[in-house]
């Protein structure tokens, strides 16, 4: 009852009679970062992080007897307050609150509405100040009106230097505050654990594959790149990242106070000398925004390829600094071995793995629709390996990007950068390494034969519709020309239309994923030809004239 009365009298947002206990952050801190559920394999942008994190921290709180409001300060800006879990509090937790009403110029005016303030006018030339009592008549949203003994005026519409000096003390906080209202039977000091989900975090895996000069093996290294886009630093935190796609509902819309400024909203201010405004039409620049990647390299390699070069060079590291993997339900948890400080707006990299001499198979390939004529196109180069111990791998590979480099004497060249999906143990891994102008693929349909079949009159529509069908027999040829000195392995995958059957081919194809796959070896400075015959039934409906 004591509390209810106090609340009715006061304007304090919560629990006027409840003792207010502010808790600073201290003690153990743990941050687990989850990637954006639907993130493409793009790079990480601190201003647009789609992932989130679970933050757990321990704080020591002295709680007085009776009702008190425990305020947790220094939580992440992106806190999803509905996810907050507070454990270790004595007695009853009456409620948990997050107050987003913040102290801002507009909020100060709103809190002073109808009350007395001091209007301060300063002479711009002499600096002399005049102060006179005033009363605020409207809140800041539509411009501020005030009343003095002279009458009613609008703030800052006269061209004079004028402002308010506020007397009222408001209870508004500088940042959104998370608090718990508890009722403790005795005064006590307890250790409280607070954990919550917060957005503004993300992580990705950055793989660097270095292909050996003979293209038969590669060294695979990877970094976990994690980012904190929040304005809060997490000092000496136990840091983990979780791989795997998990559901995260984005419907959590929290009230957000943008903080209103005090705007002078005056009457129309047009004058007789205003120029007529011309609409500005934005024009597309043919070169895009000027690209000022002022990264300087000691040695500049110019490749005739359209990709930006990111300095992700392989760095040899000792095994002790790798992250430690463990199973978490159906997910993979990677622990950063030592406590690390995750400062505000920071991107950090920790070593995920280092594997040497991973056997790979380099092949050239094309993926074509059956019986389509295709003019000469460059074949795609792909590295294939298997994620098992025999291939010096055999560990879960979280999704990310793979940059493949080729070594040339003492320098390395970027071949390609491609996305990689989540790869479990014992799965095949294919990494695209660009296309090759030296290996050209073309396809042509050589012949088409149509043999009509007996027409069918459907029973219900007899005499109205007639279905006539024909068997269509196509022969197509695919040519592969190899201009390089060495022989290459080539794989052609055909996409057959529904109902189309392959009835003959030279060489004989294999079947993979329900699609024909041709494997041929193309000799150095030579060609190879794949010829296949397919058949499908074409159906045509015709109206029978009555």
């Amino acid at each position: 009852m004591r509390r209810s009365l106090a609340l009715m009298l006061g304007f304090v947002p919560l629990g006027a009679a409840a003792a207010d206990v502010a808790v600073q952050r201290e003690g153990a801190l743990a941050v687990t970062i989850y990637r954006a559920p639907s993130r493409s394999s793009e790079g990480i942008d601190l201003d647009d992080l789609g992932g989130f994190a679970l933050v757990s921290e321990t704080r020591t709180v002295s709680i007085p007897e009776g009702e008190s409001r425990i305020r947790f300060e220094g939580v992440a800006d992106g806190i999803e307050s509905a996810s907050a879990i507070i454990t270790g509090l004595p007695g009853d937790v009456l409620e948990k609150n997050r107050d987003a009403r913040l102290l801002s110029p507009g909020a100060l005016v709103a809190a002073t509405l109808g009350r007395s303030v001091m209007l301060v006018r300063t002479n711009r030339k002499t600096g002399k100040q005049t102060r006179l009592p005033a009363k605020i008549l409207s809140d800041a949203e539509g411009g501020v009106m005030f009343e003095t003994a002279e009458g009613i005026e609008a703030l800052r519409c006269s061209g004079l230097a004028e402002t308010f000096s506020f007397i009222t003390n408001t209870d508004l906080a500088a940042t959104p505050t998370l608090s718990a209202l508890v009722r403790s039977p005795t005064a006590t000091t307890v250790k409280v654990t607070l954990s919550y989900l917060a957005h503004g975090f993300d992580w990705t895996a950055n793989y660097v594959a270095t292909l050996s000069p003979d293209s038969k093996s590669m060294d695979l290294g990877a970094w976990v790149t994690l980012a904190n886009g929040n304005g809060v630093t997490f000092p000496s935190a136990q840091t983990q990242v979780v791989a795997g796609r998990i559901n995260h509902e984005s419907g959590d819309v929290q009230p957000l106070d943008m903080g209103e400024p005090i705007l002078a909203r005056c009457w129309p201010m047009g004058t007789t000398s205003d120029p007529v405004e011309e609409p500005v039409i934005p024009r597309a620049s043919p070169f895009g925004d000027s690209d000022s990647n002022a990264t300087t390299f000691q040695e500049v390699l110019v490749t005739a390829q359209r990709r930006s070069y990111e300095a992700v060079m392989p760095i040899a590291m000792s095994a002790a600094q790798l992250v430690q993997e463990e199973q978490l339900g159906d997910l993979k948890l990677y622990r950063v071995p030592e406590h690390t400080t995750l400062t505000s707006r920071q991107i950090k990299q920790v070593r995920l793995l280092d594997r040497r001499d991973v056997p790979v198979e380099l092949f050239y390939g094309a993926d074509l629709d059956a019986n389509q004529s295709v003019e000469s196109t460059a074949a795609e180069r792909t590295l294939r390996t298997r994620n098992d111990a025999a291939h010096h791998l055999g560990l879960p590979l979280p999704s990310g990007r793979v940059a493949t480099f080729a070594t040339r004497k003492d320098s390395t060249l970027l071949l390609d950068e491609v996305p990689l999906r989540d790869v479990a143990v014992d799965e095949d891994v294919e990494i695209g390494v660009g296309s090759s102008a030296d290996v050209q693929v073309s396809a042509v349909r050589e012949t088409t034969n149509v043999s009509p079949r007996r027409a069918v009159d459907p029973p219900l529509l007899r005499g109205v519709l007639r279905f006539s069908s024909a068997v269509v027999d196509d022969v197509s040829r695919v040519e592969i020309h190899n201009a390089s000195r060495s022989a290459i392995r080539f794989e052609l995958r055909l996409r057959l239309d529904e109902g189309t059957q392959l009835i003959g081919a030279e060489p004989t194809p294999m079947s993979r994923d329900g699609r024909p796959l041709f494997k041929v070896v193309v000799p150095g400075q030579g060609s190879a030809v794949i010829r296949y015959r397919s058949e499908h039934t074409s159906v045509k409906a015709t109206h029978i004239p009555l």
Partner: protein, 359 residues
């Protein structure tokens, strides 16, 4: 109105009465016989109004006009509907893998972005979705995967109003503007929960890379071996302890208003190690508009224990039949066939089925 010209530098003031002729683009004034544009020269001019018109208020105001026989003070009650206030439930479930049980806490999450603080209010929350033409019903979004596996038929002890459940907040509370408030309403421990995997394939769905199966948790809201309560719509977050014993978040999902005694089946996300690769092996025209479709589902499990995966093939329209299959299926509905496939530890198994369709 009165205008006060202030001489820059000296601060000397000259007062004049002015009549506003127009306010289009700029303010045109009539001062005596002269016509002027307000502050056309940019010099300071104060504009002083004598009074605020009666119909202008500091804040949006609702007023009533009454005709009373006698004056006096009397209590009045004002009731109104307002948008900007809303609530949903937030659940925290801690899953224990060792004994396959969950502890669930439920919180009512109340948000106020109505622009007003409600001091010391008696608060009652209504679960259900009363139609309100002005508000949009955010829970009416169609879920991609149903979460309610079996609707319950039990009644609890919660207060009801018509078909809505009421959740009163026991103590008077202040709902501040822009506040999110949480009040506990459910706390149960040791409820049995099953964990499994599910993969749904669309008709003729074929993939060149293995696709993760969904990780699914299933539990009851019954009074016996369940949560024993109606669940208002909201988000259920799953946690699990890592090897050091710290709870870690493993995914969440939305649940709809759920009656007591129901079975809930929630997907928390994709399984990293349990995957299914569906492949259309062959599709043959049998003439007379009939087709034979041979499907293969390759299931892989990189976990060191065997798992059971429910493979669902949807889109079996019309009188589609399964003429051959490597293990017996059940029909969840005419459109959906289901196989419960056990995949051995670190193993692989192929499920094949042949469908006969007509169109």
């Amino acid at each position: 109105m009165t205008i006060v010209r202030v001489t820059p530098g000296t601060g000397a003031e000259t007062r004049e009465k002015a009549l506003v002729l127009a306010t289009n683009g700029g303010v045109v004034l009539k001062i005596g016989e002269r016509i002027e544009v307000l502050r056309d020269d940019g010099l300071p001019v104060r504009v002083i109004f004598d009074k605020v018109p009666d119909n202008l208020r500091a804040r949006p105001t609702l007023s009533v006009t009454v005709n009373s026989a006698h004056g006096g003070t009397r209590p009045a009650t004002l009731s109104y509907l307002t948008p900007g206030l809303g609530w949903r439930a937030d659940y925290v479930a801690l899953f224990s893998e060792a004994d396959s049980k969950i502890d669930v806490q439920g919180w009512v999450t109340l948000t106020n972005s109505s622009g007003t603080t409600y001091d010391d209010a008696k608060t009652l929350l209504v679960a259900g979705s009363p139609s309100n033409l002005s508000g949009n019903n955010s829970w009416a979004v169609r879920r991609p995967r149903p979460t309610l596996a079996e609707a319950g038929t039990e009644s609890g002890t919660r207060e009801r109003l018509g078909d809505f459940y009421l959740y009163p907040i026991t103590e008077r509370t202040t709902i501040a503007n822009l506040q999110t408030k949480q009040v506990s309403f459910l706390d149960v421990h040791g409820v049995p929960a099953e964990h499994g995997y599910e993969y749904r394939n669309v008709w003729l769905g074929t993939s060149e890379t293995p696709q993760s199966a969904k990780s699914v948790y299933r539990f009851s809201t019954s009074a016996k071996a369940g949560l024993g309560d109606q669940l208002p719509a909201g988000i259920l977050r799953f946690y699990m302890r890592d090897k050091r014993g710290d709870p870690q978040f493993i995914g969440e999902n939305q649940i709809d208003h759920t009656p007591m005694g129901s079975i809930i089946s929630l997907s928390t996300g994709d399984a990293f190690d349990v995957k299914v690769q569906p492949t259309v092996l062959k599709r043959t025209s049998l003439g007379d508009f009939a087709w034979r479709t041979e499907m293969r589902y390759s299931l892989t499990n990189a976990l060191p224990k065997s798992v059971q995966v429910a493979v669902l093939q949807g889109g079996l329209w019309g009188d589609t039949t399964i003429s051959a299959e490597s293990q017996k299926s059940t029909r969840r509905s005419a459109d959906v066939a289901e196989w419960l496939v056990t995949v051995p530890a670190n193993g692989k198994i192929d499920l094949t089925a042949t469908f006969m369709t007509r169109y």
